[in-house]
Symmetry: C2
Subunit: 361 residues, 2 copies
């Protein structure tokens, strides 16, 4: 803080660099105790209307700013929530972050942002979280059992966003990726698709792996051929490259491609249309996951599974706030279903005459 | 903090809720002074290798976490930087935030995120910034003279991102919007476009107003008709609605539309192609601003002015860090030029035969 570097020892003030008023100064001017001043700035603390009025008047006169950090040392509450996010340029995460920010701000809390380039880079980030005495953590990135145990050991409430842990119960808000992937495959298979392929998310993305697993399992259950799986990194170019790879052997080319997220699906469709002159959806159906904003644009009009981001962010915030207030609750998972969006990039009506058409689910 | 709420008065520890070790505990175990412990955790402070080794060993044994917030009360540095951003779902800002995060994290600092729904909602946000004792602020949202003066009065270094202030010198990193808009109009006019229209950013966006002003002024300078201006809100639907409005009177319909950002340009093009069956760029040229990632996708391949986001974020971080270290420097503006991206949504070659073709700039 600039004004404090040259902390004046006298009470002389200059217009630019005056000594910041303290709660003691406010108490003196208001003629109340320091603890009364502090209660005035503590959410929910009781204070008489007269005292409050006097304190607020003094506060205004002295231009007093309660120091949230200093207060956090006393209240053991920093009103800071750490949000760990792996890849901000993945368009899904800005939407999540924006919703989380709305939720926490409405509760008087602030987001301390921790961005992790890749989910596997979490180690170095996590050691820094302890230092900031955050009240809680929302992790929208992969955490190991060791990480989760560390949070527990430090007594820091943690809610996983779209992640769970196989080895341990955790508080989490998730979208059912397996269910979503199964619905997608079922709908496409019901419309007569037989040769599935998957452009999957990276191996260090739990969500991506679940989507791939759910789709593959359902394809095999339906007695269709083993789907070809190509690895991607959630970006547009991965979708383009994925299609190129799947088109190498035209004889075994897929008639339906399920992509691990919307952006890869858009890349895949763009490559199909612009590089291979393949008519999507007439010749090839392509679907994504997430329902990010660009998927709704007329130029994309993507078949996808939309995650209820607003509801999920709200649930995560509620869950974390309740954990901060009461640490003893037993772990809970709130599982949301994705909404199937038909869009226009998949052929979803059965190719055989309506008379013999049968519903599959 | 959970483990501190039930602060035990004895040194008994239980696996789940043990008392956090203090720097005093570390000093005792290491057999050094408390100030030696503190120096070990202060970036740049001098400490002998032996002392450091003993302190680190004790730190590990006791599982000591230096309290960054407590330290900030002593050092007057919180290592927190507030970033004010107006609209995270505007795809440009996640790219900026991601770059800023990279820059500050590499300097050991953290971003405290303040999102503002609309640029005009800044008032209530700004009063909360004081409380967190941030070392500095990057504002990528509109600030009034009063706000900037408040920051100065509190001695909090401030760098404006893509904003300046007409009434006062400020530290700022900007992209030359007027220059960019002029280049765009010049290129389109050189290719024979005569009927310009503008789908502009909202009135509370300084950047949007500059782009509109730059484009309009250049159109008039070139002796072309006054461009029709339609107001938008930087979102896809504004581009769609903008085109609909501009097409109401087909007789005076534009042959070139300049949009205040890429997303509106994409909406405008989608509406032209899907609703009005207008061939872009043959019948209508459309250009955007920013160069966000979707503008590069094959399905959009947008004519736009790309802002050098990485360079700008780096410059903003450097500037703020230098202000935090040395408050006396005089205000500086670092002005970057946008890069013209030809793309495929504007006709940029002159329609007359090559023999009579002349270069205009």
């Amino acid at each position: 803080m600039a004004s404090k570097k040259n902390l004046p020892v006298t009470s002389e003030v200059t217009p630019q660099k005056k000594r910041s008023a303290t709660s003691y100064d406010v108490a003196m001017l208001a003629g109340v105790s320091q603890s009364a001043v502090s209660r005035c700035f503590k959410p929910g603390a009781s204070v008489s209307p007269e005292t409050r009025a006097r304190v607020l008047k003094a506060t205004k006169e002295l231009d007093y700013i309660p120091n949230a950090l200093a207060r956090s040392l006393i209240t053991r509450r920093s009103n800071l929530v750490a949000v760990l996010i792996s890849n901000l340029t993945n368009l899904y995460y800005p939407e999540v972050l924006s919703e989380l920010s709305k939720q926490f701000v409405s509760k008087g809390m602030r987001i301390l942002l921790f961005t992790v380039p890749h989910e596997s880079d979490i180690d170095q980030t996590i050691t820094q979280i302890w230092q900031y005495q955050v009240d809680g953590v929302i992790a929208a990135t992969r955490l190991s059992l060791e990480h989760v145990t560390e949070f527990e050991r430090h007594g820091i409430p943690l809610v996983l966003y779209n992640r769970t842990l196989a080895e341990k119960s955790v508080d989490a808000v998730v979208c059912d990726q397996i269910e979503g992937a199964r619905i997608l495959v079922s709908r496409l298979a019901a419309a007569g698709h037989q040769r599935f392929a998957i452009i999957s998310g990276p191996t260090d993305s739990v969500v991506g792996q679940e989507r791939t697993r759910g789709a593959r399992e359902r394809v095999l259950e339906l007695g269709l051929r083993e789907p070809q799986v190509v690895m991607g990194h959630y970006d547009y170019q991965s979708g383009v490259n994925g299609l190129r790879q799947l088109m190498k052997n035209r004889a075994s080319a897929p008639d339906a491609i399920i992509c691990g997220n919307d952006i890869m699906a858009i890349g895949c469709i763009d490559a199909a249309r612009h590089e291979f002159r393949i008519d999507v959806p007439k010749m090839l159906s392509v679907a994504g996951f997430d329902g990010v904003e660009p998927s709704t644009w007329m130029s994309h009009n993507l078949t996808t599974l939309r995650q209820p981001v607003q509801k999920m962010a709200q649930a995560a915030a509620e869950m974390l706030l309740s954990l901060i207030d009461n640490h003893t609750s037993s772990p809970e998972k709130r599982v949301f279903s994705a909404q199937f969006i038909e869009g226009g990039t998949s052929r979803l009506d059965h190719p055989v005459p309506p008379a013999t058409k049968k519903e599959q689910k």
